[in-house]
Symmetry: none
Subunit: 259 residues, 2 copies
């Protein structure tokens, strides 16, 4: 049995906090003496630990009470929602920091930020940047794809799909040679060609795909199913493939300039 002070020092909270938790029925003392003193047993200590844990997660007290009092409470959903809230706050903090930075720079005279910008463009700027990235990755390809793909017959579609999966199987067969090996890179040319059944991918889209193969859950799951090491392997291999294409393109450009 602990008194308020003992529990407060034990748990690192103030006595007032324990009074308050008693008041709002979040943590009742295990027993109360005839003198009115509060006494807490080990079970109460444990409950306090739990309370403090959820409090540390920035969950408000009524919700903590709901969680602890109802064991059937959908904890995971609640936590996921909470996670989402945290995420939102963090994003907001980030834009704030950027604005503060800009303001500092503005005030130091290093950046010319018009007053309009200063008072107007909080979230718009970043928002647009995200949109551009999304559009880059998925916009042009997806629009084109639907038409092309639907223009094929069922048999053609099946054949194309099978050809596609064969590419990945061949890739797995050559994984030991390393992602930048000529064999693998040659197979990637087939992969590249294969994509053209659906749309004409830009280099950026290719690279985006390479990253998505590793980073995006559904892609990752697909390729992990084929071989557990395939996603990172594909990412590296495609990165190299794109690099080479880019270099070749650059050299061609420089060549024509020289002419």
């Amino acid at each position: 049995m602990h008194t308020v002070k003992q529990l407060s020092t034990l748990a690192g909270v103030s006595v007032r906090t324990l009074h308050y938790y008693d008041e709002i029925d979040l943590l009742k003392p295990s027993s109360v003496g005839r003198n009115g003193y509060r006494y807490y047993d080990d079970q109460a200590v444990f409950r306090l630990q739990q309370i403090l844990f959820f409090r540390e997660l920035d969950i408000d007290l009524p919700q903590i009470k709901a969680i602890l009092d109802n064991p059937d409470f959908d904890l995971v959903t609640a936590l996921q929602q909470h996670r989402q809230a945290l995420q939102t706050r963090m994003e907001r903090l980030q834009t704030l920091m950027q604005t503060v930075d800009n303001t500092i720079l503005h005030h130091l005279g290093e950046v010319n930020m018009s007053k309009q910008q200063l008072f107007k463009g909080f979230s718009e700027e970043q928002q647009k940047q995200y949109e551009v990235e999304a559009e880059k990755l998925w916009g042009p390809s997806v629009r084109e794809t639907a038409r092309l793909w639907n223009s094929y017959s069922r048999e053609q579609q099946a054949a194309i799909m099978q050809e596609g999966s064969q590419v990945y199987l061949d890739l797995v067969a050559h994984m030991s040679q390393g992602p930048t090996s000529p064999e693998v890179q040659t197979i990637l040319e087939r992969w590249h060609q294969h994509l053209r059944y659906f749309y004409e991918p830009t280099l950026e889209v290719l690279q985006g795909l390479g990253n998505a193969y590793n980073d995006h859950p559904d892609f990752n799951a697909t390729f992990t199913a084929i071989h557990p090491d395939l996603p990172p392997f594909l990412q590296k291999a495609i990165l190299h493939y794109v690099d080479v294409l880019e270099t070749e393109w650059l050299e061609r450009e420089l060549g024509t300039l020289k002419e």
Copy 2:
């Protein structure tokens, strides 16, 4: 000259806020009629703009008053200090999110997080690890997803992937209800939540994914393997899901405009 309502709609704040700012001498009306009405001229409008700017930076009102009332105020130093405070708060949020994630995974039963860790997991040891993760996350933002994904343990990754595939299985089980049915839409919330383990998807990205699930060869193959009708079903369902979210968002925006 503007009345309270005019200024409030103009600046996007409530009338009560203007009353309050008057009360604490942060923004006094330029003149007060014999009827007691508050009137604001353009100078007051400008000051309000400034107030809102600093408020957006999460600076408390007394300090804003100090900044605006004292032209010799060392703004840059104040902003730098403020920036530091924001940074600290963001780091804290970062650790919170990690802990929430761990707790979710723990509750999914896939990870053995000892109770010590669970209730005491704010030790310096972990603290440092979190700092590293934060650096990872906020450094080069392009690779954010991969780093986050790789920051999970093998078991965590497995748990997440399994949770993901469960989503699709549940979707197939409810396909007969139609893509816009509440059951399906509820499952899509889990899908949305699940993506957040990897990155924060914008609505555009969600829609792009929905289309890609049907149109992109690799996605299509994946989901066709689960169920032959799943890709177009998913596309329709996600389109509706995004539509609803977009509508809700729009209504919220219009709602705040009305105030």
